[in-house]
């Protein structure tokens, strides 16, 4: 079978692979690149266990032919740790706060959460915002509570100290609360 050369940046390193034209990115990552952290749960883009970042955006790698990733920058769960291998704030929060139970959905969830954190830099996403951002990643163990808590804790950690202090100020809290109340009221209507 004819194979196509595909080049991408994977977790910071350039990779070149020769793949069958329709081979899924998921399989290329797991088989050709030997990165098995990215999981398959359904093969049809419903469970999100195969989520990776493609040019900074979370995507289901089971739905994407690897040839589409040509020239892209990819990040998988293996690329989330800090340089030197220390856990990132996000990973650490999952470990200490019970965000990972069986762990099979964890890589995909971490990648989706990473996208959210990148998007909401300098700000702690609200509970509902985290739940919405992770709605494409199924978890059957945790009931999501500890995952949401861990993502928000990591966001808090990542905030600059000044912003954290401002957030702690009563005024800021009142604003946040007012926002929540207004949102609830909107939803109730």
């Amino acid at each position: 079978m004819s194979r196509i050369a595909v080049t991408f940046t994977l977790n910071g390193a350039r990779r070149r692979v020769r793949v069958a034209p329709m081979k899924r990115l998921l399989d290329v990552l797991r088989e050709d690149c030997a990165l098995t952290g990215t999981k398959e749960g359904c093969g049809e883009g419903e469970c999100g266990a195969c989520t990776v970042l493609i040019d900074g955006r979370a995507a289901n790698s089971c739905l994407i032919p690897a040839v589409h990733a040509d020239g892209a920058t990819l990040v998988t769960v293996e690329g989330l740790a800090r340089r030197g291998g220390a856990l990132s704030a996000l990973q650490q929060a999952f470990v200490t706060m019970g965000g990972a139970q069986c762990g099979i959905c964890t890589p995909g969830i971490l990648v989706s959460a990473q996208e959210l954190l990148l998007r909401s830099r300098g700000r702690v996403p609200g509970d509902a915002e985290v739940r919405e951002a992770l709605a494409g990643n199924l978890c059957r163990c945790t009931g999501y509570q500890k995952i949401v808590d861990a993502v928000r804790a990591a966001a808090r950690e990542a905030m600059p100290a000044r912003a954290r202090a401002a957030r702690r100020a009563p005024k800021a809290r009142a604003t946040a609360k007012a926002r929540r109340t207004a949102k609830r009221a909107r939803r109730a209507r």
């Binding site: 797991r30 030997a34 990165l35 098995t36 952290g37 990215t38 999981k39 398959e40 749960g41 359904c42 093969g43 049809e44 419903e46 469970c47 266990a49 998988t76 769960v77 293996e78 989330l80 740790a81 856990l87 990973q91 999952f94 470990v95 200490t96 706060m97 019970g98 990972a100 139970q101 069986c102 762990g103 099979i104 959905c105 964890t106 890589p107 971490l110 509970d127 985290v130 739940r131 919405e132 992770l134 709605a135 494409g136 990643n137 199924l138 978890c139 059957r140 163990c141 945790t142 009931g143 999501y144 509570q145 500890k146 995952i147 949401v148 109730a188 209507r189």
Partner: protein
Amino acid sequence: MPSSRTLKPAPVSVGVSIPKLEAGEKVTGRARYVDDIAVPGVLHGRTVRSTVARGRIIRVELDPAFDWRGVVIADHKDIPGENVVALIADDQPLLAADEIRHAEEPILLVAHEDAERAEAARMAVRVEVEPLPAALTVEDALARTALVHGDDNVFKEITIERGDVERGLAESDLVVEGEYRTGWQEQLYIENNGMIAERDGDGLLVRGSLQCPYYVHKALMRIFALAPDRVRVIQTVTGGGFGGKEEYPSMIGGHAALLAWKSGRPVKIVYDRLEDIAATTKRHPSVTRMRVGVMKNGRLVAVDADILMDGGAYVTLSPVVLSRGAIHAAGAYRWRDARIHARAVATHTPPNGAFRGFGAPQTLFATECHLDRIAERLGMDPLALRLANAVRIGDVTPTGQVLKESVGAVDVLTRTAAMADWTRTRERLTRENAAAAAHETRRHRRRAAAPRPGSAPAPSARRLRRGIGLSLALHGAGFTGSGEVRLASRAAISLGADGRPVILTANTEIGQGTITAFSQLVGEALGVPPSFVIVHDPDTRAVPDSGPTVASRTVMVVGGLLEQCARAMRERLELFAETPIAGADEFRRVAKRFLRERGPLKIERQYEKPPGITWDDDTYRGDAYSVFSYAGCAVEVEVDLDTGETTVLNVATAHDIGRAIHPVLAAGQVEGGTVQALGWALLEDVRWKDGRVWNHQLTNYIIPTSADTPPIHVEFVDDPYTYGPRGAKGVGELPMDTPAPAVVAAIAHATGVRADEIPVTPERLLAALAAREKS
């Protein structure tokens, strides 16, 4: 040496939420699940299954046009031992030989080194079957439209009696009747089932995603007629179980092993989602009819319950699922008279099996819904009715078990009510619903008076109602009846060459925290930090049979054995060192010296039932469990009267699990179990066509996402149990018991419509609302 513990305080870890010990591997992608393991020369196995529910195999034909080179094929004739998947009964074959009893029944196996060729080979097998009439429902099976099992299609029948039910009903002020139905539920672990098998010398090595290594071990010994020491089973990192990897891995392991045995090559069988949902076990659906006698003041007198569960085509675990269901059917209440009659029925559908709760959520659903119906009939607050009748210390269950200690029913109810602000919330929502209804009537009149044709209803025109419901449950920890005595579990701790303690059990980490909780219990008893303790992989060559990882038994039963082992080991080492040991460094030093001077050290303990426990399997009388855990749950919902959609807004739940060894992990169990139960109550609907699951995809079998899931507030009521390690009871299954009836009660509060069948899908709720409008 009574003074040894007081000299240096042991590091405290029990009761403290230390980081989950294996989580670092999981958040970095380093953890190796079965499908992540590279096996040189591996063949990919596929399973040819029946497409009909019942029939006789006439012929199996291999498509002559297909290139069969390199394809390994195995059927029942290749089985060296018995064609059986050994469990409770020996009725289920590994591969159908002649008779087909359910759709998706395995008939033939193929394997190839290329996964795509293996799949193509599977498609190139044609099985000619003479279809026979099938009994696909419990009703058909009981009417004996076709015979599945014996001459009455009943796998197991249980009767539990205490007092005189007929007299009790006659003497009651009011008798309330009801019928409740629950549907199938798929466990839906995110990691599909999978196993790898290979020849290992003159024996077999089977690794995979599983809960119970010794179940697979036992099954393989029979299939291959091998002695125990020639079969080795190892659990790989497992991506969720919930009961779904209790018995089915024996089937997949047997299939992979048969292909490996025949080909001499390693064989991997990993199901895709479609096959996993279609073929593997589900929660038993149930029908429960209740008759309850109650006095006007709300005192419950007599309960008469009749339970039916659909077991599917083979016995598998149905008798014990039924048993747990029957025992829990009286709920956490005091009755003078009780009669519980339960039957597990055989149908020509894929066997149902273990799923978190194991029969209890089904019967507790009926009991709790019925309690709400009774409260409504009496005009009583559902909380008050439950508080008045909840079991307390000294009360007696329908099997005659006296509840001696750690009975938290009243406490969890009170806590739950406080967390949910029950009385005020209920009154407020009632008021708001009335106001919303009045507002809609006015708007309707206005619109009728001055219609504006063509204008779409504004978003604010949604007709929403809110409600709150509450439930109470108990859950027996450990195997039912004499189960634990028969299991006679053994657990051990040995000293590793590096002087660290090594935990040896067959209990598996499937996400719930076995590794961490065991390390905490053992670490604390040994006076070392949990991270110093090594937990050996569940490997039947290395670990004793400490029983399956099921039935909320891991911490309470096996953790208890480990605590005994650790205490004995510490005493042994302290006697040897003639000094108390505290801390990892000291432990390591003493342990290494012990290994040098005295040789290896391994301490094993076997289960012994707590004093005063008796059980009679024949009469179903006695202590069904050594102890029960308790939970209360309040659920607030919002119902859209026009779409029938129910949104869960809030969950508050209090649990009495004795004492939490690791509060964060325990809360994780509660939150996860709660959301599975919310899915069971509202979303998860297994649909059938001709005996096959047609919605066997994640696009059409819907489980809760983070966006569907409300915040869940969990509290633990501390009520230590004398015979649990550090006071612990079971937690794993309990949270599955309470949310569904609380959801139904909340919907009833919101809409006035009582759904007696779950899942309460929008279609079902709209039909009920329409029926009410009509009447």
